[in-house]
Point group: D2
Chain length 255, copies 4
């Protein structure tokens, strides 16, 4: 029997603003990365989102960010590891309060946007994030890019790590993602995307952009609810998984 | 044997900015109200302040505020009880993360500035704050103005409440503070201040501005470290208490 | 010949967030109140909105707010007149930069949300806002609630004032708006709304909620583009005005 | 006759926080870089600082920053040139409002912290800043690091550029500053520092760290008032300049 987690970013509204399609995508995923107020999300949104996750039996995780609301956390910032560690604790703690109030556990932590991208390739930064999690609660799983510094740092810190893969992204021969600036980085053929993730789950293999097969062991697939097509794609993945005998379970049940 | 808590606001710096005299006042108090980033404080400051409290055996509490960094949380805002509740959870959670990392418990929650003043006289707001604490952790004590809505709301919510008094403020016959806009609101005679708090602690009495004695049972005295004179005054209180057989203990040991 | 201005709030998005229906409503109005970053709006949004106003020959105004992005500037804050004055200058100046870059003048200033509501009834606050405008550029018109402190304060400061009325709101006998908390405050019959504003423009009269006619001289009508129905309503107003010989002109051409 | 400008960062307090030694340093400089609220400064502080500059006959300039109050604008951020341009306009405009209210002109614009450092070596970013200035007011001078992209970009945009030098920093043979990470980057011998700037002003020469003399034509020297020693150093520079017949004039009188 095969199993995999589907994770998505939720609760990224702020004040009067709303973004994303939380109501639809929440029905399709097993784990939610909840914005903690620094790139999106505010206390009311967090409270409501945790409640919706509980109602839909979706496991929750913190989705900390650089302090960059105006840039939605998508811009690299040269924060020190010490700063990143403290920022992560702060945001993780904030989510813990809402989780506690709803009687839920925080299952995982997945960095957001530029913090995720930088921590994927910067071991000192990745380690700072892992230490933040461990010092607050060592039961929390670090969800990071498959094969990246985040996975290594988490394990070295004694945390459980969950490897995230992308259905629509091409991989280099070394297991890293092909940069979006390069041709072929994004795979637009939805059927091919689904075939690739099925193979990742069942065979732990994917064809790299250079042609050869590489090994990668996914724990979770990142999906989006930004638009109706995105939600349809997630539904198609779910149907294909059902047909292939792949069960969708949250990360905590997998790693 | 008599006992009382001394509490002070700590960790109110932000980024490169510092304010207050944390290093001196921390040696004089038994409980610290730690800013949680909304009127002052930031993750690095919070982490450092919690560490200093641990080193000085000072119990820690969350000091949540309206979202008003530019106004230091001193300006009334008409936030709804629902908003205030979520804001309190968020800030309390953030402190919990740093407490957890340092192996400390969060002893209490005391609202900051305008939030404190508004909650003192607004039962719906006070109840929202109390519910926030209860839902996150019902062991946390609500530290609020003696005789105010905060004390009532906390007890109605099933929380332990700690009554705060002020050494240098005059009281009305109903136990409320004389407004700062009225003459005589602030008592400038330091010796008189000390005599008044000693009587509050030992006899649970204080002379109201109207002349008669009123009853009030203090659990904690609010002190400040804003300037060298303030710190000297706190030291004088401590010496007088020692001479009077009044032990200084943190709130958790009292209520 | 009759004339009137139609004003609407524009450019209230922030970062990745968008709100309102700027593209449709901009075609219907003669003056735009542009968010200045404190309740909504950011530099990129401001720049784009000023450009769109220029392309659509819509006059621009600053729409300053309390510093309350999380509450969209809708919550009362007890800022001092001195603070409000400085906040207004700051936001007005920011818009002036974008206006200058696009070769436009800033026609007016209309406070946003809670700042508008508070300044309507608080002469010291209204005066602070008027002084801010005068000190930065005395040619800028103060757009405020008809009959409110804002109109009085602006004129006392030597500014031109423009009186704003609402098509769908009931008026008290003294010319103030009926509070939204009272029954009948909002008029839901769209035809009646249009008849009322036509009469306001042509006869300077409106029937108060108490039954008698009152006098009120409108310079501008506040309209919204929040949803398709709102835009349809504005279009219906425009058609009715055309049929009645009421020309739509911006405030600068009226006061 | 020789002349040079002395510039310093002023008005970097925020809310209740104060930083730097504005009252002392303002008496020593000819130009002030005024924080615009994004790394420090707030509307009240800006208003007061502009007033103090007027009282001390110090020319004022905008000191825009990345949106990073918590990091004091000292952390690199990968904002796009388009974003940087809009951010600069916004902050410059805000200062223009206070300048206008005080009857002053904004003499110059000098980017702050990480924005300055990044624009020194990134021509696209430097050009974005220069365009922002030109579009708002082409009379405003761009004050940037001598020999950097900022100077080139400003001139290519048709702006006047002012070249800033540092008394206590070593220079590479190509006229760039020796990185602070390298030994010898900071010159601690105050007398040597003063001799170097005198030679820069009178001979347009300085000895590079590699030993040879290089040419550099300074318009302004950056000085600080962070501590009493810093202020003493500035006073020593002023005395030495007086003895050498070097007049201190603001940038507008020089470039």
């Amino acid at each position: 029997m095969y199993h995999i987690d589907l994770n998505s970013d939720l609760g990224e509204g702020f004040g009067v603003y709303r973004i994303g399609n939380d109501k639809d995508i929440i029905k399709c995923v097993s784990s939610a990365n909840i914005a903690c107020g620094w790139h999106g999300g505010d206390p009311l949104v967090m409270d409501e989102t945790v409640g919706e996750c509980k109602a839909n039996a979706v496991a929750i995780g913190a989705h900390p960010s650089f302090p960059d609301l105006i840039g939605f956390g998508r811009r690299n910032m040269t924060v020190s590891p010490k700063e990143a560690k403290a920022y992560t604790k702060y945001q993780l703690g904030a989510l813990l309060a809402f989780a506690q109030a709803h009687g839920l556990k925080v299952q995982h932590m997945k960095p957001h946007g530029a913090l995720y991208n930088m921590a994927a390739v910067d071991m000192a930064l990745a380690k700072a994030l892992a230490e933040a999690v461990r010092e607050v609660n060592p039961e929390i799983i670090f969800l990071g890019l498959s094969g990246s510094c985040m996975i290594t740092a988490a394990r070295e810190c004694g945390l459980k790590a969950a490897s995230e893969v992308f259905a629509d992204r091409a991989y280099n021969a070394d297991g890293t993602l092909v940069s979006r600036t390069k041709e072929g980085a994004v795979i637009h053929d939805k059927d091919l995307c689904i075939k690739r993730v099925i193979r990742m789950v069942k065979e732990n293999k994917v064809q790299a952009i250079s042609g050869e097969d590489i090994t990668l062991k996914p724990d979770s697939i990142c999906v989006h609810g930004d638009n109706p097509e995105a939600v349809e794609f997630v539904k198609a993945i779910r149907e294909a998984f059902a047909a292939e005998g792949i069960a969708i379970k949250n990360i905590g049940a997998i790693v």
